[in-house]
């Protein structure tokens, strides 16, 4: 009887153990499934985000060109036949373009029709012809087929970004122009090529002439200034606070303030930059120098906090070993602590720089939202930066700026990825020194 009871209890407790084990395994499986699900969900969102950007923006890397048979009419370019460079430079090339278009599409066009014709090609075409003639005046009097940039309205229709029906949303062409587009396409006088303009030009009011290069150069200059200012300052601050400063109420106060600064909205730094860098120091408005300094202020707390964490992570035994050998405090830091902390400091710096690359609001405060066509040649020239350029294009009414916006976002992301790559390579290099 008692034996039976004992066996019974043993069996029951065995069952209980098995049941507990089973529920433990089940809990583990649930937890893993949850984690996997979370990752899949975020990957899906990322894919949707990137997919929509690429899908909207890839056509931004393509431009539409129209073939025009241009007669370089001496009567228009150089009526007195002097070949005076000034005359060649200022001649009415727009008429040449219009005449070329008219000759093919509407030989007997009236005033209105001629205006519609002009609207089909970019004003860049005029510039293109001017350059051709100035470079080679012998061309005058001849006729040549020139591929000129189509206007953004044609571009949108040819790329299929807007429907071809008259009056459809975003379609700014009238029925005459639509007919001409069809006519040109049939005769093979429309082509799409890689959009070099986008990667070489600055901003423009005309979407087909707008490029990202000015903003890329502006961002590059700004970030260079940011790095040059914030990295040495941040590292020096972190090293001093962590390794040399006494721990008292003052350093506590400084630490609290640095941590608070890291959370201050960036627009506040922009106002500070406006008040100090522009109004007190009179740095050039809208320049990468002023922008870079403001971004450096934004980066500093991040770099200092990450730097201090990296220094704290260096085992104290290394400091003791060096001190025990008679290394001075500076030698301990320079020879041992700093090299070991450097990978962590670089990571912090890159995090800060990546944030700086994407900052828009503080730059608006110091005038970097201005419409700048020229490519900046130095950090004191007025310039745009990538995020502000995106902001500007996103707010432009022309349909063609939609794809430019997405294309610019892609360029920004590429910039970001290459920066991170550089950081990883640097970090690996520092780590391999041991």
């Amino acid at each position: 009887m008692t034996e039976m009871a004992q066996t019974d209890t043993a069996v029951r407790s065995m069952d209980a153990v098995a049941a507990r084990l089973k529920s433990r395994y089940a809990a583990e499986r649930r937890f893993r499934a949850l984690g996997l699900g979370a990752i899949l969900l975020s990957v899906a969102f990322l894919a949707i985000l990137l997919g929509s950007i690429v899908q909207k923006g890839w056509t931004g890397f393509i431009q539409t060109q129209v073939a025009v048979a241009v007669t370089f009419d001496p009567q228009v370019i150089d009526p007195d036949g002097s070949r005076d460079p000034l005359a060649l430079d200022t001649a009415d090339y727009a008429t040449l373009v219009r005449n070329g278009m008219a000759a093919r599409l509407a030989p007997d066009a009236d005033r209105n029709a001629r205006r519609d014709l002009t609207g089909m090609v970019s004003t860049m075409a005029t510039e293109q012809l001017r350059r051709m003639v100035v470079a080679n005046p012998d061309i005058i009097g001849t006729t040549a087929t020139v591929w000129v940039l189509a206007s953004d309205k044609i571009d949108m229709v040819v790329k299929g970004q807007v429907p071809r029906q008259l009056g459809a949303a975003g379609n700014a062409l009238n029925d005459r122009q639509l007919g001409w587009v069809a006519q040109l396409e049939q005769s093979g006088q429309v082509r799409t090529t890689f959009n070099t303009t986008f990667f070489t030009a600055g901003d423009s009011r005309a979407p087909e002439q707008a490029g990202i290069w000015g903003a890329v150069v502006g961002s590059f200059f700004s970030l260079a200034i940011t790095l040059l200012v914030s990295f040495p300052l941040g590292v020096a601050t972190a090293v001093y606070l962590e390794e040399f400063a006494p721990h008292n109420r003052w350093t506590d106060l400084i630490e609290v303030n640095i941590n608070n600064l890291a959370a201050v909205p960036s627009v506040v730094f922009g106002l500070l930059g406006l008040a100090v860098f522009l109004n007190v120091f009179h740095l050039p408005r809208s320049s990468p120098l002023a922008g870079g300094l403001v971004l450096a202020l934004i980066c500093l707390p991040t770099i200092i906090i990450a730097g201090r964490a990296a220094l704290k992570a260096v085992p104290p035994s290394i400091r003791q070993a060096a001190a025990g050998l008679g290394a001075s405090p500076l030698q301990i830091v320079a020879h041992h602590v700093l090299p070991l902390a450097m990978p962590g400091m670089l990571t912090g710096t890159i995090l800060g720089m990546a944030r700086a690359l994407g900052e828009t609001a503080p730059l608006l405060m110091i005038g970097m939202v201005a419409f700048i066509v020229d490519i900046p040649k130095s950090p004191v020239d007025p310039s745009a930066v990538l995020p502000v350029q995106i902001y500007l294009w996103a707010g432009s009414p022309e349909r063609a700026f939609v794809e430019k916006t997405s294309a610019a976002i892609m360029v920004l992301l590429l910039f970001l990825v290459s920066m991170n790559m550089v950081a990883i390579v640097l970090r690996k290099k520092f780590e391999r020194r041991w």
Partner: protein, 259 residues
């Protein structure tokens, strides 16, 4: 200064040494002589102040926030805590080996060469090579590592790392080597090797070793000092301390009644 000192003269002498960490007093009026050319073991239960005393000799306590020292502590008659003493010079004379092996994450060669480099002990590369080789030889490590001097010091076994740390300390040619429980992180075989090494080093260096193992103190030291609650209870020849302690506290500790 006379470099060759007869065995038995006091190399380090403390009189009425008090140490405070902030409000807390860690040492109470310690009078202790460390004799030249001998191994002195400091024993006692945890928190008794033996490590604190050790760290006073090369002023490692300076690195601790709020540490304060009163009383007199001299090295060859010169006050270690005098304002005119340069800590860097002092630590070149008083080397230290720590509880946990702490080689720099650099090559074996660079580990040993670091001290001589910062103190300018070598005029050229061949002289530096010579110092590194001799130090590794003295630390009994040369045979094991001579083919991989450029490999990382952290890749060695625990015992080898500790001997590397000893080689690193003696490369600076100190007069005194302080050892803070140098074998507590080592297995018995590595411990035996390090103890053997300590015995050999005694010929050239004055050694002070803190240890939790009374057997170790008995094996390697000539003199033993017993600390308890920040006070020096008893000091004497090792044999006498372990066979015929004068103080009941010492007797209690070495017979394992507390500790």
């Amino acid at each position: 200064m006379n470099m060759v000192q007869p065995q038995g003269t006091a190399k380090v002498r403390s009189r009425g040494l008090d140490v405070f960490y902030g409000e807390k007093q860690a040492l109470f009026g310690v009078d202790l002589d460390i004799r030249a050319g001998e191994v002195t073991a400091l024993i006692g239960p945890s928190g008794c102040g033996k490590s604190t005393f050790l760290r006073c000799i090369n002023r490692m306590n300076d690195l601790v926030d709020g540490a304060r020292v009163a009383g007199s502590l001299t090295l060859d008659g010169d006050d270690i805590y005098d304002r005119s003493v340069d800590v860097v010079q002092l630590r070149a004379k008083v080397g230290m080996v720590f509880q946990k092996p702490n080689p720099f994450p650099k090559s074996i060669y660079d580990n040993v060469a670091y001290g001589p480099r910062i103190h300018g002990k070598a005029a050229d590369q061949s002289e530096l090579d010579e110092i590194v080789m001799t130090s590794l030889e003295k630390a009994g490590l040369l045979k094991e590592v001579k083919d991989r001097l450029q490999e990382s010091g952290t890749g060695l076994s625990g015992g080898q790392q500790q001997r590397l740390c000893i080689a690193r300390a003696i490369a600076v040619e100190p007069e005194i080597v302080l050892m803070d429980e140098p074998c507590s992180a080592l297995d018995p075989i590595a411990t035996a090797k390090v103890e053997e090494l300590i015995d050999e080093l005694r010929e050239n260096y004055t050694i002070v070793i803190v240890t939790h193992s009374m057997q170790q103190a008995a094996r390697v030291s000539q003199r033993t000092a017993f600390f308890h609650l920040g006070k020096l209870i008893e000091v004497g020849d090792t044999e006498q301390i372990f066979t015929n302690p004068q103080e009941p506290l010492t007797q209690g500790y070495i017979t394992g009644r507390f500790g």
